[in-house]
């Protein structure tokens, strides 16, 4: 059993990590009251720019940083349109998906089939020798270890610091936040940038550590799954870990079953994660309805999706 379980869970963490980055990124954005549906596009941009940077500099770490920054930079289009111009956030996010798909395909056209320096697996000293746990959690690339740091930090930032309090109050009630002297616009811009940067990093993870090469449209719907995971995790990075690894597990299950010689079509197995995500969404909403935990928890920040303008009363 353990020789099946070990690689399987290891693969679940491996394919869950990009979702984790993207989901936590979107949590930052949505906590400030802005919904960014452009994750898919931003991840593609992060993937292609990260790959290019790694190819040119020969250093995947530079690649990851560049992917991260370009995700943040492109998300500023969304920030400008939705925060400054108060455009419909859903439409702006969708446009970002088209834009990202197109830009990444144009930039990536000469990169198909090229090999760039990528992240290598690093075994953590001593920890990787622990049976099972070592294999599952401590035989990975550097970006996975970074996610171990980043997620708890995000939780602390959002729920235990002043910055987090600002972000959340802007997301719950921008009018009040404005009255007490917070700069709603600046905080939303910053949250969208942070989110975009994490989505870019998630993309760079795919092209520099997971696959590792550039394939057109390589994100394959993970951006949308991340949005679903935000709802599942109830806008909390702690919960996002479970969601992301669960989905990663679904992703890995197909390979694991095939490796054991199961006679199931790869295409049918490919459907699994998406069907599972829909199921997860239904469960989260059902749970919220059943428990009646209050819509404030199940529906996310109160001002989510609503533009804020100082001149208008809401």
């Amino acid at each position: 059993m353990i020789e099946f379980l070990g690689p399987f869970l290891q693969a679940a963490v491996r394919s869950g990590t990009p979702l984790l980055f993207a989901t936590v990124g979107e949590i930052y954005t949505e906590r400030s009251g802005n919904i960014n549906l452009g994750i898919e596009g931003l991840m593609l941009i992060g993937a292609v720019t990260g790959f290019m940077a790694s190819l040119w500099t020969g250093n995947p770490i530079v690649g990851a940083i560049i992917g991260c920054f370009s995700g943040g930079a492109v998300s500023m289009i969304h920030a400008f349109l939705t925060v400054t111009l108060n455009v419909n956030q859903i439409v702006s996010g969708l446009s970002l998906v088209f834009f990202g798909t197109g830009v990444s395909a144009v930039l990536g056209a000469p990169l198909v089939g090229v090999i760039a320096p990528s992240f290598e697996e690093i075994n953590v000293w001593l920890l990787s020798d622990i049976p099972l746990i070592g294999q599952v959690f401590f035989q990975h690339n550097a970006l996975v270890y970074f996610s171990y740091l980043f997620v708890p930090i995000s939780w602390i930032v959002l729920f235990k610091t002043k910055i987090g309090l600002y972000i959340r109050s802007v997301g719950e009630n921008p009018q009040t936040a404005d009255t007490v002297g917070l700069n709603v616009t600046r905080i939303r811009y910053a949250s969208i940038f942070t989110g975009g940067a994490m989505m870019g990093l998630a993309g760079a993870y795919l092209s520099l550590a997971y696959t590792p090469m550039w394939i057109e449209n390589m994100v394959a719907g993970r951006g949308w799954v991340a949005i679903a995971l935000v709802i599942f995790s109830m806008w909390n990075p702690k919960m996002a870990v479970f969601g992301a690894y669960l989905f990663g597990g679904m992703d890995a299950l197909g390979f694991a079953l095939q490796a054991r010689g199961a006679q199931i079509s790869t295409h049918l197995l490919g459907m699994l994660p998406y069907v599972f995500t829909i199921f997860l969404l239904a469960i989260s909403m059902w749970r919220a309805k059943k428990k009646a935990v209050g819509l404030s928890v199940s529906m996310g920040p109160s001002a989510l999706g609503k533009p804020f303008s100082r001149e208008q009363k809401s």
């Binding site: 349109l81 446009s95 197109g102 395909a105 459907m271 995500t277 829909i278 239904a282």
Partner: protein
Amino acid sequence: MLFALIAGSFVFWINGANPFEAYKEMFVGAFGDGYSLSETLVQTTPLLFTGLAVSLTLRTLLWNIGAEGQFFMGAMGATWAAQAFSNQPPWILIPLLMLSAVVAGALWGLPPAILKTRLQVNEILTTLLLNYVAIFYVNYLLYGPWKDPRYPGFPQTPRYPDAALLHQYFNTRLSMGIIIGVILAIVLYVLYKKTGWGYKIQVIGQSRKTATYAGIRVNRNIVRVLMISGAIAGLGGMLQISGLQHKLRLGGISNNYGYTGIIIAFLANGNPLAVIFVALFMGALLVGGDSLQMTMGFGKGVVHMFEGMVLFFVLAGEAFKRYKIQWIKK
């Protein structure tokens, strides 16, 4: 729009091409002669259906991002009917194909509708995720049970029986699909403007609360709208295969038509007559982009990038329209 064109020139320029020549090339490629015009209309046909499908849901303030999957399922349903009833004459077979495609598309719109009305699950996510499921399913059929045994290396079905094919006119690849699409647009327009149902869905779109107070059954109408939307996209899928491709073939089903339909519906502001013109524009962009690809060596991505930019600028333009510039005399 103008800004998007300028921004587009910039893209051509950094790719090392003269922007004016590129636009000229695109225009000639799309409208230059009878053949390219017919090709533009061929590309417009599926876009009309996906555009109309999405525009219907937009009127109720719902987003059907799943037209792509519904299009695939429509193509799948039609293929099933073509195989199951292959010895019927055309006047029975063609309507059967259409019916089967419409049902498949509508059923693909059903789960998001149920989840939306029962549990308030966001329909953007469910419709989108079902796209991937539909595409994987069609892949499965094409690599598995439906594969043409004569060409083991290719993921495609055998050719449809002749009775299941739509006639192509004037020695082009154009079938009656485009006419059906235009008629559908006009019918929808009349439905929206002249019937109680059209008014109801508009009220639902403006305010769910008002609609409930006015005694409109909101949930039932939401389910209906999403299913009809799926049905329209599914019909588009059938016409694509029966009128153009003649067999279900991987890569020959949809050229991101479902996603482009979203842009079309948005730019047309949910108005079915406007959908006709925007679909024509997008069709021309696809064909023009293709000819650009052949003569100047740009990839397909240029078209997507262009679409994204058009959207950004339209959005920004609308926002600026809201702020009128006023001269205040002191």
